[in-house]
Subunit: 305 residues, 4 copies
C-alpha cells in the first residue's frame, strides 16, 4: 500500500519502521526533519510538508495531543485539505472525544474516510510490532486498513462504525491503568504501614488474583519508588484522565474515580512531580501515609513456597 | 496431624474436607450440627462444643466475621480457654486488625500460639484445594502449619512474624478487588454511553493489559448485569472495605478510593442491593449514567481478529 | 447613560427594569420579541437586532450560557462587530473562564472595553435592585460602569484589572453554594438516621454557627424535600460546577469537592432529577441513606428555648 | 443545685466557673489537681476522686475523648459506680455514638439518668457563658438540667428522648465546620490561581451569601494562613470527622464528603500538620494548587463600595 505517516516520536517512528519492514510504500513527515532520517535510510520517502504525506491510500497520524492533531488535520494546509476523496485518515494518537468527532465530520464533508485506531502498548511493543490496535470506522474502511494494523500490531479489536467508539475505548483503558496505579498505591501503603514489605506484598498479589501486565508493570514501579526517568510522565497521565472526564461530561457519565485520580495527578504535578512517571501517583499514597519514599528490593524479605 | 476445625460454611466445609482427604485426624465443630454430617461421613470426628475441637496440635477457624471469631476464641468457653499450651490457633477468616491483635495477645497470654492465615479464593477453589494461603506468625508456628496449608491451598505466602501482617494483606486484597469492580464499572459505563458494547469492550480489555482473574471474573458479571444470586454479597463487600477503612484509621493511612467505594456499597445496600453480588457496585455506574441494566451477551457484536 | 441590554430572561428583565427606573436611556433586545414588551411600556426602546442595542456607551448581556454569550458577542452580527470604539460590554451572565478570556481579547482587538460583572442573587433580589455585583476590568471602565451597578445592585465588589477574576469569583461562589447543599444533605441525613427531625436539626444549625443565607435557603429546601418547581434547576447547577472544574483544569487547581459534587449532579439528572432544583443534590444523601423523601414540617417536633 | 464537674480543660474550666458564678454548689474533679485551684478560689469544692464529684443531683463531664469518658464513667471507680439513683450524668464532651449509647445503657441499668449535652462554641464563648447547648434525654431529666444549661450557654436546643440524638447533632455540626473549611480552601485557592487576592475574595463571600460565623472565622484563618498556634488542632478535627464516619457506618449513611475530608486530615497530620489548627485543611488546597502558603492581609488590594 501507499501510506503516509505523520508524527515520528518514539511510538510513531517504531510504527512507521514496521510499515516499511512489511513492504509498504511509506512517505513520512515530521515537523522536525531530523526524525525522518532513520526512516529514509530504511527506504521511506520523506515529504516536505503535510500535503506530501497525503498522496496515498491512507495517512496515519501519531501525534502528541488534540491540538497537534487538529492543527495537522484541520489546519489550512492540513490533511483534510489534501487527502484524495475516498482516502483514509487513520488517527492512532490518544485523542479526545470532541476532537475525534470533529475529524470524522471534516473528513466526511471532504469525501474522505476517517478511522480512529489508537493503540495500547509502550514503545518497546511498538518496535516489536506487538501493539494492540483498537479501531472503529466504516466497515470497508476498516477492511482497507487491515494491512496497516497487521504491520504494527499483534491483534486488532474492531469496535464498529463510529470512530469515536475506538477513541473512547482507548481513553477508558488509560483511565483503568491510572485506577490500577491509585489502587495499588493505596493497598501497598496500607500494607507498608501494617508491616508488609511492598515487594513481598506485590509478589503475593501478582501471583494470585492480580497478575495482569498492568499490575506487574505499575506495581513494581510503585514498590521500587522508581518514578524517574518517566516512561510516561505524570502530565500525560493527567491529560488522558482529563480526556476521560471530558468525554464523561459530554456523555453524561459520572466517573467518581476519574475525578479523584485527576485531582491527584494535578497535585502531583504542582508539587514537584511533573517529570515523574505517572506511576508516581502511587507514591502519593505512601507520602500521605507518612511513609518514606519506597526503594527497590535489595534482597526482598518476601518468602513464598 | 490432629487438627480441630470450627466453622463449616461453604468455605470451611470445603477446607475441612481437604484436610480429611490429606489424611489428617480432624475434629470439626459447627454451631448448627447438621453441617458436620457430611464431614463425619468422610471420617471426621464431630465435637460437641468448642472445647472438643481444641484437643489437637492446632485448631482452624473459618467464621463469618469479627464478632463470631471473638465469641468462639475469646468467649468464656472459647478456644483460648481450652487450647493446650503451645498449640496453635490458625484463623483463616477475613478479620479486622483489632480483632487480629486481640487474638494474638490473648493466645500469647495463655501460652498458646496464633497464626493468621486468611485465604484468597472462592468456594470452588476451596473445594479443589486451590486456595492461596496468606500466613503470618512465629516462624516455628508457620513451619508447623505447613501441612495444613498444603492440604487446603495451591500456594502459601508467608509474611513474617506478626500475624496482623497477614490480616492486613487479606483486607488490602479484598479492597483491590472492590477497586477493580468500581473501575471496571465506570469504564464499561463510559464505553456503553460512547457506543461500545460492554462485552466487546471487556473482550478488548481482558485480552490486552487487563487479563488478570479479577478482571475476567468481575468484568463478566458487570457486563452481564449478573448480580443474583450473589456469590459474595454486597454487605460482605461493605464489611471488608469497612475493615480496610478501620485498619487505615488505626495505621493512619488515607485511602480515598476505599472511602469512595465503601459509601457506594452502603448506598447499594440501602437502595435494594443487599442481596446482590458485590459486583453490583459496577452496576451503579451504569445506573448513574442513566443506562438500563446490562444484560448477558446473546451474540455479542464484538468482532476481533 | 445610554445603555443597551441583551437578554430578557427572569434575571435580565428585572435588571433592565431597574436601569429604566434609575433614569437611564435603555435599548433592549431579546431573541423572543415578546419579552421586550413590558420594558417598552416602561419606556425602554426595543432594538430590532443586536446591532440596535450596541449604539450607547455600554451594552449589558445577561444570557443563558457560554454558547449564547459567544453567539451574541462574537457572532458575525454580534456586539464586537457593532460596538463603538471605547464603548463597554458588561457581561453579567455566569460564564466560563475560556469564554471570559475570549471576550476580553475580542473586545480589546476591536478597540472596545470589556467588563465582567456577574451578579449574586435570585430573581427576587434582581427585582428589588438588591443584587451583589462582582466586577473586574480596567479601572476607568469600572468607574464608568458605576451607575449601572448602582441601579441593579445593593453593593459592588471590584476585583481588579482582569475581567476573568470576576468570572472566577462567581464560579467559585456557585461552587460554594453547591458544596453547602451537599454538606447539609449529608449532615441532615445522618441526623435523620440518628433520630433527629431535619427541621429541628436545621433550626439548631442556622441559629448557631450556620446562619448564612445559603444555609437557611438551601437547608429549608432539603429539610422540606421541596425540589419542584425548581428555582435554579439541577442542570444549571451541573453546568456551573462544570465551569468550576473547567477553570480548575485551566488553572491547575485540584478541587476534589467540586469533582464529587459534579458527578452527583450528573447522577441526579440521569435518574429523574433534571427538573428539580439543585437543592435536590441534598436529597440524594437521604436516598442513599435509605430514607424516604423528606417532607415539610407540619408541626415540627423541634423545641428550643 | 448541687453539681459535680469533671474535666477542667480550657472548655471545662470556663463552664465550671460559670456554674459557680450562677450560684450553684459545685464540686470539681480533675486528674491534674492544679487545674482545680482557680475554681477553689472562686468557691468550688475540690473532690479527691471521681466519687467525690458524684454526690449531687448531677455531674457534668467535659473530657478529651471517648476513652476518657468511658474511663471516668464506666471504670471500676467511675461515675456509674457512685452516682445516686435518679441523679443525672450530663455529658458535654463531643463523643461517639457507641460511647453515647454505652453510657445511656449503663446509667439506665444503675437506675441513674443520662443526658447528652454537647456544646457548640470555642473557649471564649464558654467563658462568656455564650455556648449553645444541644441536649437530649428523658424530658424530666432535661427539665432538671435547665439551670445548668442556662448557666453555661446562651441558648439550648432540645432534641428529644434519646441522648444519642444530641451526640449525633454535635458530630454532624463539627463535620459541617470541616466541610466549610474544605470548601472555602478550594474556592479561595481557585480564586488565588485566577488572580483574586484571598482576602478580597473572602470579603466578597462573607458580605453576600456566606456570612455565617463559620465562614468568617475559618475563612480568615485560611486567607491568612494562620494555622499556628492551633485553637482546635488538626488531630481533633480528624477525630471528630472520624466520629462522623463511625456513626455513619453504624447508621448506614454514606457520607462521601466526610470520607474525603477525613483522609485529608490524616494526610495533613502525617505530613507535618499535627500541631496546626484544623483550618489548615484549607491550606492543603493551596499547597495542592502549587501556591505558596497564604499570608495575612497587609493592606488588602480589595476594594468595595
Amino acid at each position: 500500500m501507499h501510506i503516509g505517516f505523520i508524527g515520528l516520536g518514539g511510538m510513531g517512528a517504531a510504527m512507521a519502521s514496521n510499515l516499511v519492514r512489511a513492504g509498504h510504500d511509506l512517505t513520512v513527515f515530521n515537523r522536525s526533519r531530523d526524525k525522518a532520517a532513520p526512516l529514509a535510510e530504511m527506504g521511506a520517502r520523506v515529504a516536505e510538508d503535510i500535503a506530501g504525506a497525503c498522496t496515498g491510500e491512507c495517512v496515519v497520524t501519531m501525534l502528541a495531543d488534540d491540538a497537534a492533531v487538529r492543527a495537522v488535520a484541520l489546519g489550512p494546509d492540513g490533511i483534510v485539505a489534501h487527502l484524495a476523496p475516498g482516502a483514509i485518515h487513520i488517527s492512532s494518537s490518544t485523542i479526545g472525544l470532541d476532537c475525534s468527532k470533529a475529524l470524522a465530520e471534516a473528513h466526511a464533508a471532504a469525501g474522505q474516510r476517517f478511522v480512529a485506531a489508537p493503540v495500547f502498548g509502550r514503545p518497546d511493543a511498538a518496535e516489536a510490532a506487538r501493539l494492540f490496535v483498537v479501531a472503529a470506522g466504516a466497515p470497508e474502511a476498516l477492511a482497507a486498513c487491515e494491512p496497516v494494523f497487521d504491520a504494527i500490531g499483534q491483534r486488532s479489536f474492531l469496535l464498529g462504525d463510529e470512530p469515536s467508539a475506538a477513541t473512547i475505548a482507548k481513553i477508558g483503558g488509560n483511565f483503568l491503568i491510572a485506577s490500577t496505579i491509585e489502587a495499588l498505591g493505596e493497598a501497598l501503603a496500607l500494607g507498608a504501614r501494617g508491616g508488609i514489605d511492598p515487594h513481598a506484598y506485590l509478589d503475593l498479589l501478582t501471583n494470585t488474583l492480580f497478575g495482569a501486565p498492568v499490575h506487574k508493570t505499575y506495581g513494581a514501579l510503585i514498590a521500587d519508588g522508581a518514578f524517574t526517568p518517566a516512561r510516561f510522565a505524570a502530565p500525560l497521565g493527567a491529560k488522558d484522565v482529563g480526556l476521560a472526564l471530558e468525554a464523561a461530561r459530554a456523555l453524561k457519565v459520572p466517573l467518581p474515580l476519574a475525578g479523584l485520580i485527576h485531582d491527584r495527578f494535578v497535585r502531583l504535578i504542582n508539587t514537584g512531580g511533573a517529570e515523574r512517571d505517572w506511576a508516581a501517583l502511587g507514591g502519593l499514597a505512601f507520602e500521605d501515609a507518612g511513609l518514606p519514599p519506597q526503594s527497590p528490593a535489595a534482597a526482598s524479605d518476601a518468602e513464598s513456597r
